[in-house]
């Protein structure tokens, strides 16, 4: 078994901060105007990561079902709200729907992974928290990309949609191609990662596990599990969210609501 992981204490943090300090010097010398951003970014990373480390530390210490669920619930809410804002389309209902969809899809996937595949028989935060975090983060990004693309394509393709409606299509059929393109584009980053994983770079989680002393092959298999789960979550989240947004852009008389579409950003 490997030696226990080397602890990063105050001294190490101070030494680590030497790197951004040098980066700031470079930025000033090269006239990049990034000194402020690098400083703030470094400070924020340090504060946020310390805070999250402390919070998750508490959850790990008690490992009760409610502390795990509370943490996952807060993460879902933040991911959902951030995603709704970042999609930039400004549809008020997204704020309530995205957290629900994201939470539902993530929960479904996690139940399969932890209960069926891994047979985790306790509320062990070591499995639930990192897995949940990664699924929520990726699901959020996928939803954002898909919604953005859907709205942009609908605006550019209004005429195509109306031609299809005029030929007797229901809205679902009229937006099918645009929705497919939106889901595909949201899936591409994940698919690309699956294609090149391990060849060009080692993913963060596998690296982390190896730093923690897990044998590389085992770490690789956990990475596989995460990748497959992410792929499923991005697919389902982007498909559900694009269906939701598209459905709200048609009237009861199956008309494309061009006023509502025009109000959306992107």
């Amino acid at each position: 078994m490997a030696d226990p992981i080397i602890e990063i204490g105050y001294v190490q943090i101070l030494l680590l901060l030497g790197i951004p300090a040098v980066a700031v010097v470079f930025s000033v010398r090269l006239g990049l105007g990034l000194a402020r951003e690098i400083s703030i970014g470094t400070a924020r990373s340090l504060i946020q990561l310390t805070a999250v480390g402390l919070v998750i530390g508490q959850v790990f210490r008690y490992a009760t079902w409610y502390s795990v669920l509370l943490l996952l619930g807060v993460m879902t809410l933040i991911a959902g709200l951030t995603g709704a804002r970042r999609s930039g389309v400004g549809m008020p209902r997204l704020v309530t729907v995205l957290p629900v969809v994201l939470g539902g899809v993530t929960a479904l996937t996690m139940i399969y992974i932890t209960q069926v595949v891994l047979s985790v028989r306790s509320w062990d935060p070591r499995y639930l928290v990192p897995l949940g975090g990664m699924l929520l983060g990726n699901g959020m990004t996928a939803a954002t990309l898909a919604i953005e693309r859907l709205v942009a394509d609908l605006k550019a393709g209004t005429r195509d949609v109306e031609v299809l409606l005029a030929l007797g299509a229901v809205p679902k059929a009229a937006v099918r191609r645009i929705q497919q393109a939106a889901v595909r584009s949201a899936m591409m980053p994940t698919i690309n990662t699956m294609m090149i994983v391990g060849i060009i770079q080692l993913p963060g989680m596998m690296t982390g596990q190896m730093l923690g002393g897990t044998p590389p092959l085992e770490a690789a298999m956990y990475q596989m599990l995460i990748l497959v789960s992410i792929m499923f979550v991005t697919l389902l989240t982007s498909a559900l969210m694009t269906s939701f947004v598209a459905a709200r852009l048609f009237t009861d008389a199956l008309q494309l609501d061009r006023v509502a579409l025009g109000r959306l950003g992107s």
Binding site: R159, D160, V163, L164, A166, L167, G168
Partner: protein
């Protein structure tokens, strides 16, 4: 149509339009751009909603029709032909798919018939959108609109993107379609020579309302004085 009004963002698009189109006749809508012609025909197959007023199609208020069924009975050919990057066959198949009707074999006969009505040969079926000229695309759009064997055909300036010869030949074909199928047609146009070529009745729209209505020959030969005459004389000299 009775008392049809459309307002959008407090702008009046259509104001108190009353129009009757007898079954099996042709009505041509002419008028300056922005006079509400396109807005008006988009109401008939309910692509847009009127703010007030009623529209009956085949004796039934359009609000009582299921929208998909209404759009199969009332087809539209848009100003710019849009074939969605699909082949001719795929285009013709679309309305049948949406209707969920019949088998592929059943379509074949209809497809050939629709192509023929639009003045295209059956061997055009496998061509792709990229192989077609604008005029040919417009004919495919026409054939596609005829696939559901509609009762009413709406046409929104179907010749506007075409050169004069293709425009003429499309109009002749439209007259042929009308004569062969007895289809009711409402056609938006802005060229007086085309209006005369197609014949039937016409309505002149000015500022969102119907300013005059009558037989084409009657109105074009003896336009009433005022804005209608100004408009008709204007387009004639432009043309």
């Amino acid at each position: 149509m009775r008392g049809v009004c459309v307002t959008r963002n407090s702008a009046t698009i259509l104001e108190g339009v009353n129009l009757t189109v007898e079954r099996g006749t042709v009505l041509q809508l002419v008028g300056p751009s922005g006079s509400g012609k396109t807005s008006l025909i988009r109401l008939v197959n309910r692509l847009d909603e009127s703010t007030t007023g009623t529209i009956d199609v085949l004796g039934r208020s359009i609000r009582d029709w299921a929208p998909c069924e209404l759009r199969r009975r009332v087809s539209i050919v848009f100003q710019e032909p849009t074939l969605l990057g699909l082949s001719v066959r795929e285009n013709l198949r679309l309305p049948m798919e949406f209707a969920g009707a019949g088998s592929e074999d059943g379509y074949e006969f209809r497809m050939e018939r629709a192509l023929k009505l639009a003045g295209l040969e059956a061997d055009w079926m496998e061509r792709d959108e990229s192989e077609l000229s604008v005029g040919q695309k417009q004919r495919v759009s026409l054939a596609r609109s005829l696939m559901t064997e509609p009762d009413v055909l709406l046409l929104d300036e179907p010749t506007s993107g075409l050169d004069p010869r293709s425009a003429e030949s499309l109009l002749d074909r439209l007259r042929g379609v009308h004569e062969e199928s007895g289809l009711t047609m409402i056609i938006v146009t802005h060229r007086l020579d085309e209006v005369r070529r197609l014949g039937g009745r016409m309505a002149v729209m000015i500022s969102g309302g119907v300013a005059a209505e009558g037989e084409v020959s009657e109105l074009t030969d003896n336009p009433p004085a005022g804005p209608i005459r100004d408009f008709l004389v204007g387009v004639e000299t432009d043309g």
